[in-house]
């Protein structure tokens, strides 16, 4: 019977397991400091009514962590309500949402009028759209790149348009950049980030050159840009924020001067055209259930805390108030 495992090998296996279990004693460094304070800041409001039930959310993997944070904080108040969050992607989320399978759909772009809305209508799924946070799509280059500090939308278009032949920085129109080969990295076609970027920069959703390193995992794009001097890539702002030591964000000029991506410029709407709103869609029918109603109220009332916990760019006070008004109208209070 070939290779036999002797008792000695069994012992070895058990030993490794033991080591792994023993290591469990080590503990992590700073035990839940910021998290606890964040949780206690949440506005309880709404009385102490005990709710129960299941709420299903699915959709964008960009927005997922935000809804997850909301669900997590909500649990501390309403432990009987079980919120689950999937990350099938914006498109995949809408597919399930319009089939009536989920209560909430996370989206990093608005629902598509020509493709998704008719399906929702056909199945009789009515919904309300809420804006929950902002993201600044960040154009990043390697930290050793000292020539590209600002790119115009025309230059970005020239680099990323379908069929673009630019493979060297010196070929970027109006750039006066050095002779350095350029490698590109970006999200794959299933991503809402890709949809948004191509729509804004190339003028058509999904239109992009295809000879770049594509990955659904933004960390891979970060690695690709951080690993090569002439690299350029784009991804969500949080990924830039977490990797500032190896990356440099490029300012974007859409005609009104160069603007760097930041919390302030994204909130103020100055970082155009790459600041994008992030959405949550709620099924109207579900919103009539007390647990969904309460969860959405909690979500919108605590947007600031939730965004902080999940490290997203929050909405401005005005925008938050707008969403609350929308909510109040929807639940008809």
């Amino acid at each position: 019977m070939g290779f036999r495992l002797t008792p000695r090998l069994v012992l070895l296996a058990l030993l490794v397991t033991l080591v792994a279990t023993l290591a469990a004693g080590c503990g992590r460094d700073d035990e839940s400091d910021g998290a606890n304070t964040a949780a206690s800041e949440t506005d309880t409001g709404g009385g102490g009514e005990e709710l129960s039930g299941d709420i299903e959310a699915d959709g964008s993997s960009t927005v997922g962590p935000l809804t997850t944070a909301a669900a997590e904080l909500f649990r501390e108040e309403q432990s009987g309500v079980n919120v689950t969050v999937g990350t099938s992607g914006t498109g995949g989320g809408f597919e399930r949402f319009c089939a009536g399978e989920t209560d909430i759909s996370d989206a990093s772009r608005p629902i598509k009028d020509d493709e998704e809305v008719p399906i929702c209508e056909e199945k009789g799924v009515e919904y309300i759209e809420f804006e929950v946070a902002v993201d600044a799509l960040t154009i990043a280059v390697n930290s050793e790149n000292d020539w590209a500090t600002c790119l115009t939308t025309e230059q970005l278009n020239a680099i990323w348009e379908p069929g673009s032949k630019i493979k060297n920085w010196k070929d970027v129109p109006g750039g006066d950049f050095p002779d350095e080969s350029m490698s590109l990295a970006g999200p794959g076609t299933d991503s809402g980030t890709f949809d948004y970027f191509t729509d804004e920069i190339n003028g058509e959703e999904g239109a992009s050159r295809s000879d770049y390193t594509a990955s659904e995992d933004d960390n891979v794009i970060v690695q690709a840009v951080a690993g090569e001097k002439g690299a350029l890539g784009y991804f969500g702002y949080t990924y830039y924020e977490e990797n500032q030591d190896t990356l440099k964000a490029v300012e974007v000029d859409s005609g009104d001067g160069c603007v760097a991506p930041s919390v302030e410029t994204a909130q103020a709407g100055e970082y155009t055209p790459l600041a994008r709103p992030l959405f949550v869609y709620v099924k109207k029918e579900s919103l009539e259930r007390p647990e969904v109603k309460e969860f959405m109220r909690f979500y919108l009332e605590n947007l600031d805390t939730i965004a902080e916990t999940a490290q997203f760019i929050p909405l401005t006070e005005e925008q938050t108030a707008e969403q609350m008004t929308k909510y109040d109208e929807a639940v008809g209070s």
């Binding site: 019977m1 058990l14 397991t17 080590c26 962590p65 997850t68 997590e72 990350t87 960390n219």
Partner: protein, 291 residues
């Protein structure tokens, strides 16, 4: 005295070089495997150990790495592996017994069955996921539940269990069953008291391989609806998540600490696998016989 070294010398020049090269190749092969695995393990342990604590085992996932655990995912994986064993081993061993002991290989449908099973082992796991989504989740209306995940993993590993069980059953010497028949035993008695007990070590090996493949599967589970955030403990007919999915999701997060958490998750996954393997090895050693 002078002739002997000459003969040895003649043999050594050609054969020793070849033998040496062969030995070197073997050492190289084993080194590649060990170095890669070792690097991986050292990397994972170095990163994961600070996060390997009771929080990881007892808390649900969280947006803050310091508070995040993987309890629903760990339980989901353990439940699924349990269900998998309950379903895959009886069905797999039953199929293997039928093919080895009962099936008439001259019949075309038995041969077709065999070819089918051998080919199924090579079908990509995502295809099983699509099957699960269409047939179990939507067709049978089972929904996106843990049982559907376990069933799809069962289908996925069934060919492995069947093929290895057949090998094990075939390895039982014919003289054993012939002897039992000679003493007047029925086919049922021969199989249940002689063939099956003797084949257990081999069947256990096959089941280890099957479990090892199933425990790391992510793609088919994503399709049958394993979610990325579940806060409550899983139930068989409830929504679920599994460790590989939790690890995958943590790795994709921007915050560096989640990557360390993912490493800790990998250690837990390895520990679960080792415990299950140890069980199977114990079973095998207990039933091991020599002829």
């Amino acid at each position: 005295m002078t002739a002997v070294p000459a003969i040895l010398g003649r043999r050594s020049t050609g054969e020793r070089v070849r033998g040496g090269a062969f030995y070197g190749l073997l050492v190289f092969s084993i080194t590649v495997g060990f170095v890669l695995l070792g690097t991986l393990l050292i990397d994972v342990f170095r990163k994961g150990i600070p996060f390997l604590d009771t929080v990881l085992l007892t808390e649900p996932p969280s947006a803050t790495p310091e508070k995040a655990g993987a309890r629903p995912a760990i339980l989901g994986t353990i439940y699924m592996m349990g269900l998998l064993l309950l379903m895959a081993v009886p069905v797999g061993v039953g199929t293997a017994l039928y093919l080895e002991e009962y099936a008439d290989r001259d019949r075309w449908y038995n041969r077709l069955l065999e070819i089918n099973i051998q080919n199924l082992a090579a079908v990509p796991s995502i295809v099983y996921g699509i099957l699960g989504l269409a047939f179990l989740v939507r067709g049978l209306g089972l929904g996106r539940v843990l049982l559907a995940g376990a069933m799809i993993l069962t289908l996925l590993v069934l060919p492995i269990v069947i093929v290895s069980s057949r090998e094990a059953i075939r390895a039982v010497p014919d003289s054993i069953s012939q002897g039992a028949y000679a003493l007047g035993a029925t086919q049922w008695q021969v199989i249940s008291r002689q063939v099956l007990p003797a084949a257990i070590p081999g069947i256990a090996t096959g089941s280890i391989l099957a479990l090892a493949r199933a425990i790391g599967e992510t793609a088919p589970l994503l399709l049958v609806g394993a979610l990325t955030y579940v806060a409550i403990d899983p139930t068989i007919l409830g929504q679920f998540t599994a460790l590989p999915i939790q690890i995958f999701q943590w790795i994709a997060r921007p915050q560096g600490d989640f990557k360390l958490l993912a490493a800790a998750g990998i250690i837990v996954l390895l520990a679960i696998l080792l415990v299950m393997n140890a069980g199977a090895i114990w079973l095998r050693n207990r039933y091991q016989r020599r002829w």
